[in-house]
């Protein structure tokens, strides 16, 4: 039976989907940071 939001999230696997979407965004940002070229220190 679904009584709480927690039960609902477990039943629908919503928790995993939310985390997956969150990490999708994190991964894109991470990829951007990793590939950002080092700023030249020469002036």
């Amino acid at each position: 039976m679904i009584h709480t939001l927690h039960d609902f999230m477990l039943f629908t696997k919503g928790q995993e989907y939310l985390i997956a979407v969150f990490f999708l965004i994190v991964f894109v940002v991470f990829f951007g940071i990793l590939n950002k070229k080092k700023e030249s220190t020469r002036k």
Partner: protein, 407 residues
């Protein structure tokens, strides 16, 4: 018979040239007396008698294994860690031969050799656990166990070892001067690499799949239906970081053999570090989803949960961030440090799955006997000695002048 410079020589001279590096036996023997060799000899003096006792008296005489804990250090470290850390061969082989990343070609041969020797010594380690090594061909030809994951792992390791041998053969035949054989095996390289990638994908994950059978025995934070995926992804990380670690060691120890300049080598190290950082981040995301899938958040506050957090935050996320920083700052030295850190993390993960989190709730906890440590150290020592023996003789770190590169 001819030498590398093309001189005609007798068979004895050829043997001397190939085996004793052109020295007389006396000279060669004198050169062998080094601190490293003395320590290695001492290790072998302890390990070989223990191996004899294991094969004559059985597991009870040399291990702390019980019916509750039938798999110990030889499976957890020698097999699980060995297979994962030998993944550099297939990772780099596919990058160079399949994806055309030719700039990594100078480090592909040492990676393939590490992979080949890694798998070979995994089989040796497995023999220590299984006993009766003459029965190794049984699952291949006599008694099929098609419903067992171990049947798959056994076949795959045997086939993959053959693939790695084919990939290693060009160096072997260049050393022996067998040009026709070399040409033939070079033609097989791409096929062997493709076959190797398929086999690796399946057996790396199958090793994780073995633990799916132990749902009640493995701690819930480590047990998840995603275990095969975790094992595969972490093996790719282990392969890349092991290549970084192994290539930085060989560049130090065999610097006289290497033609690649330091700047270029550092660039390759940073490239590998970048790939490892991305894979580590992906692995971390999967680990969090694994906890969410089982809804085991409440277990993170327990002592085992803190140990899990140490593994995931301290040995996955932390080296990942260090790699990102080192890659962005172009600090190859820090990439190497982070690679060693990651390798330790991978070993910790396999030890956790196979020993620490396995049967975690039983009063009868397994602690390896000193003889188990001795056998593992002996196997690693023999592996290092074999690697050095081959690198000192065959064109692993340098290009043979008589042959065109494979790609």
């Amino acid at each position: 018979m001819t030498t590398i410079t093309g001189e005609n020589i007798t068979f004895i001279e050829w043997l001397q040239d190939k085996l004793f590096l052109g020295m007389s036996f006396k000279e060669y023997f004198k050169k062998l007396i080094t601190p490293f060799n003395i320590i290695a000899t001492l290790i072998l003096c302890v390990g070989i008698p223990i191996a004899f006792v294991r094969f004559t008296q059985g597991l009870a005489a040399t291990t702390n294994l019980t019916d509750n804990n039938p798999w110990g250090m030889w499976i957890g470290v020698d097999v699980l860690c060995g297979v994962a850390l030998a993944a550099g061969g297939f990772t780099l082989g596919s990058a160079v031969y399949l994806f055309g990343m030719k700039e990594y070609h100078p480090i592909v041969r040492p990676a393939v050799l590490t992979g080949f020797l890694g798998y070979f010594f995994v089989v040796i380690g497995l023999c220590f656990d299984l006993g009766r090594p003459w029965r190794l061909p049984y699952p291949m030809f006599v008694s099929y166990g098609t419903t067992s994951v171990m049947f798959l792992v056994g076949w795959h390791v045997a086939l993959y070892l053959s693939c790695q041998f084919v990939e290693f053969c060009p160096a072997l035949f260049e050393w022996l001067g067998w040009k026709k054989f070399r040409k033939f095996v070079v033609g097989l390289t791409i096929g062997a690499t493709i076959f190797g990638v398929i086999l690796s994908t399946l057996h790396q994950s199958a090793l994780g799949g073995l633990y799916l059978l132990a749902a009640k025995k493995l701690h819930p934070l480590w047990y998840t239906p995603f275990l095969p995926v975790f094992f595969l992804v972490s093996a790719i990380i282990g392969g890349m970081t092991m290549v970084i670690f192994e290539s930085s060691l060989t560049h130090r120890v065999f610097s006289h053999q290497i033609s690649l300049d330091h700047k270029k080598f550092d660039k390759l190290t940073i490239g590998l570090g970048k790939a490892a950082a991305m894979t580590l981040m992906g692995y971390f995301c999967l680990k969090v989803i694994g906890v969410a899938h089982g809804d085991h958040w409440h277990l993170l506050g327990t002592p085992m949960g803190q140990w899990f957090l140490l593994e995931v935050l301290g040995f996955v996320l932390a080296p990942c961030f260090l790699l990102v920083w080192a890659v962005r700052q172009e600090r190859a030295g820090w990439v190497r440090f982070a690679a060693i850190w990651t390798v330790i993390g991978l070993i910790l993960n396999r030890v956790n799955v196979s020993m620490i989190a396995f049967n975690w709730n039983l009063p009868d906890r397994y602690v390896p006997k000193w003889t188990e440590f001795a056998v593992t150290i002996t196997i690693i020592t023999v592996g290092v000695l074999t690697f050095r023996w081959i690198v000192n003789r065959m064109p692993i770190l340098w290009e043979h002048p008589d042959y065109e590169p494979e790609i």
